[in-house]
Point group: C3
Chain length 394, copies 3
């Protein structure tokens, strides 16, 4: 035998065992959970960070409650808005009715004299509709204002409009965020992406360094210089050819002097890409006219919903029309479908176990350490974890 036979892979220690990143995701953040158009008159069940939640839209607002009636356990998502306009949902079984804050306001089958209302609650979640998405705050701590928590590109609806796509990935959310730490998978995974076919590939090399943005929220990874093609002795050249790469790079060309760009000066995006808590990447154009936010939203331990939120600078109705058409005919297909699909194929194949990290994984390690140090947990969870938290990663 050429080598030692593999131990059963599932028995190997997980690649996240040394880090303090919860498998179900960081809590006490606002997360996008649905496209606004996906929630109409019918209540809808979702799962977020392993919790089953019913969303409903009534009385002009979106509401979110734990998806289980405390009375006899039926799923509230099987119920309906029995009293339209009142902002309530009624359980399908006996009509126990809850407002958006989770208070029981009627137990219909007990009649109006029932003593149940006022004494029963169902856990509720702060919910918002913004930028064409429905957002939930999940966690036990006091929720911050939406605008203080999400990237300003989303919060500033007057400056940017957004177009979003999403897909379910069969992987843990951490595997997805690792992929966003500028570890040079790009030239390899996306080399034949239609987006890049006439552009130079991004460079790859050994030199990477992590830039802490100092805000407790995001880091960047600097990769100065590098090579675009190389000869590997005994194997051949990678990439095979580059004669067709004649176009100017779009948005990935500027590496030096980022601090002087519109993106940095006007929108505070401190590096061309940044990985941000609770688990997203922001890819910036230096012009500040376009940003892409990709957000890994944990469904449960084994599934993640990835939102691609395209942020366009508002520049008048005509330009918005152009941007929307351009997205519909090109970018939605070339990036949010094909390019992201190339990542999806790889990250879904990742098998948990030991890793052999290397110099190009400096961004991965930097992100895991940063997230372990700064990611929010429930207050209770934090204190409970204190004694069992793994020793600091060197």
């Amino acid at each position: 035998m050429d080598d030692i036979a593999p131990a059963l892979q599932s028995a190997a220690p997980d690649q996240y065992a040394r880090f303090d990143m919860p498998a179900l995701g960081f809590r006490n953040y606002w997360y996008p959970v649905l496209h606004a158009w996906q929630l109409r008159r019918k209540p809808r069940a979702i799962r977020l960070l392993g919790e089953d939640i019913v969303l409903f839209r009534d009385g002009g607002k979106v509401h979110a409650l734990a998806d289980r009636c405390p009375h006899r356990g039926a799923k509230l998502s099987v119920g309906k808005c029995q009293f339209p306009g009142s902002g309530t949902i009624s359980c399908a079984y006996h009509g126990w009715t809850f407002d958006g804050a989770g208070a029981c306001v009627a137990a219909i089958m007990e009649g109006p004299e029932s003593k149940v209302p006022g004494t029963v609650r169902v856990p509720s979640y702060k919910a918002l509709e913004r930028s064409g998405l429905i957002w939930l705050f999940i966690g036990e701590n006091t929720p911050p204002a939406f605008e203080d928590d999400v990237p300003n590109l989303i919060a500033e609806g007057d400056k940017f409009f957004t177009i979003s796509a999403s897909a379910e990935y069969a992987c843990n959310w951490r595997v997805m965020t690792d992929n966003w730490t500028n570890e040079h998978h790009g030239p390899y995974v996306h080399g034949n992406s239609p987006e890049l076919i006439f552009q130079p590939l991004p460079p790859f090399n050994l030199a990477l360094s992590v830039i802490d943005h100092g805000n407790g929220r995001s880091i960047g990874v600097r990769g100065p210089g590098g090579i675009n093609q190389a000869e590997f002795p005994g194997l051949g050249r990678f990439p095979r050819s580059s004669w067709q790469r004649v176009m100017k790079p779009t948005g990935r060309g500027v590496r030096g002097n980022w601090e002087q760009t519109v993106a940095a000066k006007e929108h505070g995006v401190l590096t061309p890409t940044q990985t941000r808590l609770p688990g997203m990447v922001i890819v910036a154009r230096p012009t500040g006219l376009y940003f892409l936010i990709q957000w890994a939203v944990p469904i449960d331990e084994h599934r993640t919903r990835v939102f691609n939120i395209n942020c366009f600078r508002r520049r008048g109705a005509l330009r918005e029309l152009y941007d929307r058409v351009h997205y519909a005919v090109w970018r939605g297909w070339a990036h949010d479908w094909l390019f992201s699909g190339q990542d999806k194929r790889v990250v879904e194949s990742v098998v948990a176990g030991r890793e052999r990290l290397s110099k190009t994984d400096i961004g991965v390690i930097g992100w895991r350490k940063f997230a372990s140090a700064h990611g929010h947990r429930d207050r209770a969870a934090v204190s409970a974890e204190t004694s069992t938290r793994p020793p600091p990663v060197p």
Copy 2:
């Protein structure tokens, strides 16, 4: 956050933890398991109370054995009746042949001289065909006569004929029987049922009381008076309108003086509905001309087969023809499909966990206590359970 975040629901204590109702069902009862037409020449595998059983029909009778050959473990349901008319089934692997009582009568591949016959048995079940259904007795105790165990409406084939339908429900059997305890889900779940659309809805209110029939088998729930419509402050009226409810109620209208009805006096059905061990409901018409028995037959912990057994008083061939046509064109669709389907949707959504029971759940609590106290177990199981039985429910 508006409320405390839900703990993982599967970790919550089960709603049946306080009661002594086995998750796999009460044993030592006769249960319906198949429609007679579903068993023809080919042996058929079923699961009942978690046990895998093969049914076969040969020699003019129905037989039931544990579905595993004791020789090498092949499923007997893969075998066949190799010697038609002998009332035996032969294993598909080596032809070990068992009679309906489970005795091995031949080990074909060992020839007629084999010493195996007479020394090997497979567990067997008493089986019967009655009223168009196949019935099994499951449990270790001595089986009672079929007629002494099942409702007389089924046992008295000379007085009643039956039409049955069945469906598999993705829930535990106890969730289904809870649904039958007259806890007022009816007006809410079935309000828009075609059966009720022109009839008044059954009343709902707070006043319920449990009536123990004193036979160790069934209870009823009394719900005197009540309201048919109410205004809920700040929400609106339920049901929204009732102008269309002009028809006379069918069978559900009579609440007072039940003791004087034909159903009570002639057929011993002591309340308009009764929940009965091992897990069924009997809904009676006061005229005694029609009864509906709905029976929750545990398949395993997570699945239940519900039989709707419609019992019609025999009143001559012409009337039977009318009843059968009426069932085929109306009741089979309106009740056994649509009305029962409304229950199915709700009970399948019930998530195990803590409950917040209320006054209208008096029937549920009454049934659970009654069943815990009177349901049969295996003799061995009973003594084993004695020491671990939960304390009495107050």
Copy 3:
């Protein structure tokens, strides 16, 4: 109740508990894993003895590696042969490139200066292409030469050509090999097989004895004489009729004087059928012109890939053409599809648990004891098992 109710079957002791046959299969053997035509330019994932393995074909050879890149855990089977002709496979994520021996020869995204090559390995498996099949050696010990390990009928490609078929069986490999120990299931399971319909059924009876071939690899089971039909009192005759069984038996007729056959003298096949480690049966024709090898290859604990390897004596191009046509129009259908399908239906129905073995199971017991005593394990596993090996079977 007629008999004692069955205990939950899954709680019963496994039929292999008394024997030392690993559920995942014996290690340190060559196994067939794919038909050669199933592996083309794209790498392909298989599972063998519970291990996930990627096969790829490049540089004129077949290679096999553990299907997980040690860098970040992506499946190598999602990658490709990035440098055709170099005999390497590259991971789809960052292009780490491994040769067929498992050595990392490039970490593409780190450039040619990377220090990773030469310091990282992935477990590899010896792989070969022979007789139209792809073969792997799995285990920690030093692999023997292919020719010394597999049956000579396969190894001697100059004397025999082969035609192979395979199918996935939903059972443990041990259940399949039990089926091959001449325990008389043949006349019962295959009685109506088109292959046997005009031939006499093989005899069945009580007299069986095990013949150890003394080579540590295989045993045979002798079944002298026996009966072809019998009357079972009170049941009837089995088989029902035999008037149509007029043809000469093919290959199964010769029972006496096997030592003088060509099969025995020239090809060393010591009994008409033999069960052989790691888990196969060889069925011989006395003429030595044809042999069938059926090989149970463990996928994991619950699935087995069964290869039917038909070995034909080379007798010139014209005869080979005849054999191939005959296989295509008759034997491939009648045996490898229908006849094997009859076994598949039975073995897939076997439920683990206690057995009631009998005289006709002497071959089964003999095989289990033989395999327990002679089957190979990893050296480490053997010593670890020494202390926990079950006591010898009496």
